[in-house]
């Protein structure tokens, strides 16, 4: 029997060699990203409905800048550019967290920062520490605090914007009964960021992703649950805290970002609880009316640490085996 090392130099006729498994489930990163984009379009529809042309303009500028920035970065880094949809998500998410009246050049700058500094500078998809969209929002908030806190009431497709306070800010006052407030918050008929106001549709998009097994239900449940429990324990209106601000969008679409949040189940619960505590602390005792953005960013930084300790015990694990394995 001839000896055959299996490489093409030894025998060009030899059958090829591939690593097992030889079958695959056939789900790709690109398909996952595109599904997320689809789910995100559901709340996006609400922002267009409530904020009209402004919303469309802001979103188009944000997404275009994000994709262009990604393209330029990949080319400069001499890497292949793939339309994997991750830049679209970043652009879309960032736009949804911003006030509808944000100047377009500011929007473009934020989107550019999100993709180039927060994502590509760290090595691109899979390597960034912070959620790019939230890093972009934080950058804009620190650079242009005025524009970032100018809220308008929803006006639909009309150019007459009326400034008003957002429900979470101090200037906000609500004159009528609570049930009406909850309803308006749930349907998004309040002033606020582009995509943060319509709780119903965010919930729909989020549940769609959970059903399709794209995101883990543990994170949003732990996050929203913690916010509800903690605000209730501190004598606050728990329902108001859940429905207002960016909590829903953050819990379903940002705290579930694969790259920047823990990879283990235990870790994801830990992440949600941590983000929930931070959100309430910032909302109640911090200098800003809203804390979702920074609470997720802080938890992003803690993610490698969480991953290290929040691990499951493997099959057949016993206390004694632990020492045995480590010493061997």
């Amino acid at each position: 029997m001839p000896q055959n090392k299996g490489n093409k130099e030894a025998n060009p006729e030899a059958p090829p060699v591939f690593p097992s498994p030889h079958i695959r489930k056939g789900i790709s990163t690109t398909r996952i990203m595109h599904t997320v984009v689809l789910a995100l379009l559901i709340p996006t529809a609400a922002s267009v409905y409530y904020f009209g042309y402004n919303a469309i303009l802001v979103i188009v500028v944000s997404v275009t800048t994000a994709v262009l920035s990604e393209y330029i970065c990949r080319k400069l880094r001499k890497k292949t550019f793939a339309m994997d949809g991750s830049a679209v998500i970043t652009g879309l998410l960032l736009a949804l967290t911003l006030p509808p009246t944000i100047p377009l050049w500011m929007m473009a700058l934020g989107s550019f920062f999100a993709v180039t500094i927060a994502k590509e500078a760290f090595g691109g998809l899979g390597h960034n520490i912070f959620n790019p969209a939230l890093a972009g929002r934080a950058f804009l908030q620190l650079s242009f605090p005025d524009a970032m806190t100018t809220w308008v009431a929803p006006t639909g497709f009309s150019f007459d914007a009326v400034t008003s306070a957002s429900p979470l800010s101090d200037a906000f006052s609500w004159k009528t009964d609570e049930l009406l407030l909850y309803r308006e918050l749930f349907l998004g008929n309040t002033s606020g960021s582009l995509g943060e106001t319509m709780t119903l549709l965010i919930l729909l998009g989020g549940i769609l992703l959970i059903v399709l097994k794209i995101i883990d239900w543990r994170t949003p449940l732990a996050y929203i649950g913690t916010v509800a429990l903690l605000s209730f324990a501190l004598g606050q209106d728990a329902i108001f805290h859940i429905l207002s601000g960016g909590l829903m969008l953050g819990a379903f679409f940002m705290a579930t970002d694969y790259v920047t949040t823990p990879i283990t189940r235990m870790g994801r619960i830990t992440f949600g609880i941590g983000a929930g505590i931070l959100t309430i602390l910032i909302r109640l005792y911090g200098g800003m009316p809203e804390g979702v953005c920074f609470s997720i960013l802080i938890m992003n930084a803690l993610t490698p640490l969480i991953d290290r300790y929040a691990t499951a015990k493997p099959y057949g694990f016993k206390k004694e085996t632990k020492g045995e394995i480590r010493s061997s």
Partner: protein, 405 residues
């Protein structure tokens, strides 16, 4: 010469010797090892070195040129197997070179030699296929059901368990009915139970069977007998019957030939048959398919040499058209962790393995992994996780070898 999980055998014959079918041609002094027998009669034409594609290690092989007569050695059959003692049974199993046919090729006599401190309460007869596409166990149950049960009774005599489960996947209702009928017609059948299990890979792995049937977990680096269980594959038990009753050594096995092949089928094949002959017998390769895989689609290994022989662990020969998938960066989606039946973190194992930090893989319990390949199957970034893990295991084993030398 190395067809079992333990020590390789040394050749007992030299070039030019004439051997008969069933004659022992290789053996080892080590306890965890099993002898090898000539699978046809003829002349020893060469002793060569082959590369095992799954471990990338050199292994000795004896080449026999057939004389076309297939003359057998005189088999040492017993007339009344019930009178054999447990020691005699184990000795006969060892002499016949029986190893587990599910894939692990662990010597059966070693599996049945149970330390006095251990009490075995359960035997699980594994009739679940080890991988999708493979149907050897299914066929074996239908063709050799009675012999399997006789073999099981022999094993029962050695081990004396309280319970015997016969695990069969629920999509093989004919096998369930067949085995059920055979058990009903048997005397003393109280402890036999058929366990239909949901067909879900990797249910054929002993770790999964024990967990699903008994709720117990095999300790890391431990053996199933540590928790009072012995798992035997159906074909292995049939071979035990042949060995103990007829004195027939392990020289043939059932192989599923499937994939892009004209007439896919299960074949009873003499060990040592070149893989290419099996493909030709089944009508040859269909279409453009070029990859030849030994084993199933999940854990099988590409064999670049169609002249390589069928061995004791060859359960399947799969021909496939394979497209290389481009590996992308990990997006930390966690699917591999979600799917891992051993609750490991394949992504971390692969990351350390890729960095060459094999010792760090131990911190993530690499020894617990049984190579099911589910992690790589679900990975959306096409990362060959199993390949990385296997590399790390091979490197760790190599290191351990050089440390003992």
């Amino acid at each position: 010469m190395s067809q079992n999980l333990g020590a390789p055998c040394q050749p007992l014959v030299k070039k030019g010797d004439r051997v008969l079918t069933g004659q022992k041609i290789g053996d080892s002094e080590e306890f965890i090892s099993a002898p090898v027998h000539a699978t046809l009669s003829g002349e020893i034409s060469d002793i060569i070195t082959l590369i095992d594609p799954s471990t990338d290690r050199h292994k000795q092989a004896i080449v026999i040129t057939s004389d076309g007569k297939d003359e057998w050695v005189k088999l040492n059959a017993v007339t009344n197997p019930d009178e054999l003692s447990a020691e005699e049974i184990i000795k006969r199993i060892r002499e016949a070179g029986i190893v587990g046919m599910g894939g692990a090729v662990f010597p059966s006599h070693a599996k049945l030699t149970i330390p006095d401190s251990v009490f075995i309460d359960t035997i699980i007869l594994n009739g679940c296929e080890c991988e999708p596409y493979i149907t050897t166990d299914h066929r074996a149950m239908l063709e050799y059901g009675d012999k399997i049960l006789s073999g099981l009774n022999i094993v029962k005599k050695v081990v004396a368990p309280d319970n015997i489960y016969i695990a069969i996947e629920d999509n093989k209702s004919d096998a369930i009915e067949h085995m059920d009928g055979l058990i009903a017609s048997m005397d003393d059948n109280d402890c036999f139970k058929i366990a239909p299990l949901k067909t879900r890979y990797p249910i054929g792995a002993r770790e999964m069977l024990i967990k699903v049937l008994l709720g117990r977990e095999v300790p890391i680096n431990g053996r199933a007998c540590d928790i009072g269980v012995i798992v035997h594959n159906v074909s292995t038990v049939k071979a035990i019957y042949d060995a103990v009753v007829k004195g027939k050594p392990f020289i043939e096995r059932v192989v599923t030939v499937t994939g892009a092949i004209r007439n896919p089928k299960n074949l009873l094949v003499r060990l040592g048959t070149p893989l290419g002959d099996l493909l030709d017998y089944c009508g040859g390769i269909e279409g453009e398919a070029v990859e030849i895989i030994i084993g199933g689609p999940m854990t099988g290994v590409s064999q670049p040499n169609p002249g390589a022989p069928v061995t004791k662990g060859t359960s399947c020969l799969l021909v496939k058209e394979s497209k290389p998938a481009k590996e992308q960066d990990c997006i930390r989606c966690g699917r591999c962790i979600e799917v891992c039946p051993m609750r490991l973190e394949p992504s971390m194992l692969a990351r350390y393995a890729r960095a060459g930090r094999y010792d760090d893989c131990r911190r993530y319990y690499i020894d617990d992994c049984f190579n099911c390949g589910c992690c790589a199957y679900v990975c959306p970034s096409n990362i060959p996780l199993l390949q990385y893990i296997r590399t790390a295991k091979a490197e760790l084993a190599r290191k351990a070898d050089s440390a003992t030398e």
